[in-house]
Each structure stands twice: as structure tokens, then as C-alpha cells.
């Protein structure tokens, strides 16, 4: 068994502590783990001199991720995105999500699940085979939803973004007005074009 020494000054006069730490999983729950910490009694630097904490952390994180994957897949089902629909849209083998639920998933798989959980409309984009025109339309529709929500929150007149839809002969469009102490921006967008208007 190798002797632990301080990587900074080389001293073997070390004090070892164990500490319980908590970490927040991205788009998941908090989890805890017990880590080692060495303090060098010669130079007072401290750290994981025994190189044990990475494995400890990864094991705790993996457990938390496994639970998170299951919750995300359930959440997507609530959003009317079934496992079969997800697999077909993203062109991945059927029953892949079942495998992920059982713990057989990679960090890339988890990244994809988190991305879609955050932006479920990406499944629509995938179903349209990532066609640029559809992507632009989908982004615009999502922007409208976000800004409408923002408008409701800002209805008390707090500086922010106001979003209004107009519908006149021949075209539909939207006006976004941002009011702040520093500037005012007007952006006029139509269903086909987006262009800035000075003001």
C-alpha cells in the first residue's frame, strides 16, 4: 500500500478527515456521499491526497442518475412523449429507453434525455427530421409561448417584455416591446419573416 504524501510539499505529516457532502444532480435530486480529505500539517494545503474521492463521488452520482433517468422518462410520458415515440423520432432502436430505465445508459443518453426534458418540443423537430424550416417555425412558436407567459407576469407594468399578437388583413404577426430604464426595443415578427423596427 503506497504511502500518502502531500503533492505540494511532499510531506507525509497528514491529517485525514472524512466528511459527508451533498451534491445536486442536474435536473435531478440531491444526493450525499462521504469523502476523504487530507490536510498537510507542514504546508496546510488540503485535498484528496489518497485519490479516493472521484470513485466515491461517481458511484453516488450514478445511483442518483439511475433514479433520475426513470423520472425523466415518466415525465416525458406525462408530456405525451411515449418511449416508442421518442425512439422513433430520434431514430434509436426500439426498447432503448427500457434499457436506460434499467440502468444501462451512458452519459450521452442522459444528456439527450435532459435536453428533451427541458425542451420537449425537440421531439417534434426530430419527427420532422430536423428540417430547418420546421425548426425555425417551432422556435418561433416556443418563443411566443414564453413571451406570452412573460407578458402575463409583467401585466402589473413592471419593466420587461410585453408581447402582443395582431391579426390584420392578409397577415398575422406579433409585436414584442421591451421596456427598460435604458432602452426600448421593438421587434416585429410575422409568421414568415422576422425583422427589426427602429424605435
Amino acid at each position: 500500500m503506497s504511502v500518502v504524501e502531500c503533492p505540494a510539499c511532499g510531506s507525509k505529516k497528514l491529517k485525514k478527515l472524512t466528511l459527508t457532502e451533498h451534491a445536486q444532480l442536474t435536473l435531478g435530486d440531491e444526493f450525499s456521499f462521504v469523502r476523504e480529505n487530507y490536510v498537510c500539517e507542514t504546508c496546510e494545503e488540503q485535498g484528496d491526497f489518497g485519490l479516493a474521492n472521484d470513485e466515491i463521488f461517481k458511484a453516488a452520482e450514478r445511483n442518483a442518475e439511475t433514479m433520475s433517468v426513470e423520472k425523466i422518462i415518466e415525465y416525458l410520458a406525462d408530456q405525451k412523449i411515449s418511449m416508442a415515440r421518442f425512439e422513433r423520432a430520434f431514430e434509436i432502436p426500439q426498447r432503448t429507453l427500457n434499457r436506460w430505465k434499467s440502468g444501462d445508459f451512458s452519459s450521452t443518453s442522459l444528456a439527450l434525455l435532459r435536453t428533451v426534458a427541458t425542451c420537449p418540443w425537440l421531439v417534434n423537430v426530430a419527427e420532422h427530421r430536423f428540417e430547418r424550416a420546421f425548426v425555425a417555425s417551432e422556435i418561433f412558436q416556443q418563443t411566443v409561448r414564453i413571451l406570452e407567459h412573460q407578458t402575463k407576469q409583467n401585466s402589473a407594468g413592471v419593466p420587461g417584455v410585453g408581447f402582443y399578437l395582431w391579426d390584420s388583413v392578409g397577415s398575422k404577426g406579433a409585436v414584442m416591446v421591451a421596456n427598460s430604464a435604458q432602452s426600448s426595443v421593438q421587434l416585429v415578427a410575422s409568421s414568415n419573416q422576422v425583422f427589426p423596427v427602429a424605435g
Binding site: C6, P7, A8, C9, S11, A23, Q46, L147
Partner: protein
């Protein structure tokens, strides 16, 4: 002028804990500021070119050196990591391993002009992240 050759440090980080180490405070800050959660991740990030546009800050003697007669120098750099403006400080320890002493977001003196991005973001997101 830097004391060490930056590319030597970066190459060693790419090798991993056999040639480099991250001290406790830097591990904590890297997790908080860059979401790099383990020493392996931090070293791999640095070794894989994660320090974008590094700018040398200064070189100073290690203040905790128990043997001041043999000074150990610490080089410090600013760098970019996407949206984040960072600070890293490292030295060659007695163990002949690189020691990363600091690895954190630099919250003062960001020279990049992100005023427009911040302003536009602030129009939609009510509570924007403050840049000091």
C-alpha cells in the same frame, strides 16, 4: 513572463493524476463554477483544450512553501470557457506533480464586452446573473 511552459502543464493534465493534482479549494470552486465534479474531470477538461484564450496574469512564489530557501513559483492565467471567464493558478510541487491551486470563475475585470448579450438576456429572464 510565465515561469512554466503552459503547454507542458496542459499536456500533463491530459495524462491525469499520475502527473497532476487539484488541491481541495480548487476542486470545490471548479465544481461550483464550471460543473466539473471530480479531479479527473478537471484535469481532462484542461488537458483537452478547455482553457480557451489563456492570458498570463502573473507568477508569484508559493506563499505556503515550508522551505522558502527553495522557492516554488505559481503561474496564474485568465481563460474563457464558453460564457465563463476563469482563473487558474498552478505550480510544480515537490512531488514533481503539477498542483492546480486555483480554478474558479473570475468575477472581476472581465475584459470581454458582453453588455449586449446581458442586456438582451435581461429582457426575457427577470433575474439575470450579475456580472461584477
Amino acid at each position: 513572463m510565465s515561469f512554466y511552459v503552459l503547454t507542458d502543464f496542459i499536456r500533463s493534465c491530459g495524462v491525469g493524476t499520475a502527473e497532476a493534482f487539484v488541491l481541495g479549494g480548487a476542486v470545490f470552486d471548479a465544481k461550483r463554477d464550471f460543473n466539473l465534479k471530480t479531479m479527473d474531470e478537471i484535469l481532462a477538461f484542461v488537458g483537452n483544450g478547455g482553457l480557451e484564450n489563456p492570458v498570463f496574469v502573473n507568477t508569484r512564489p508559493w506563499d505556503k512553501n515550508p522551505n522558502p530557501a527553495q522557492p516554488i513559483m505559481v503561474d496564474a492565467y485568465h481563460f474563457s470557457a464558453g460564457d465563463i471567464y476563469g482563473y487558474i493558478a498552478f505550480m510544480m510541487g515537490v512531488s514533481k506533480k503539477w498542483n492546480i491551486k486555483s480554478f474558479k470563475e473570475e468575477r472581476s475585470g472581465d475584459p470581454r464586452n458582453l453588455a449586449l448579450a446581458d442586456s438582451l438576456r435581461g429582457l426575457v429572464i427577470p433575474e439575470k446573473k450579475e456580472r461584477s
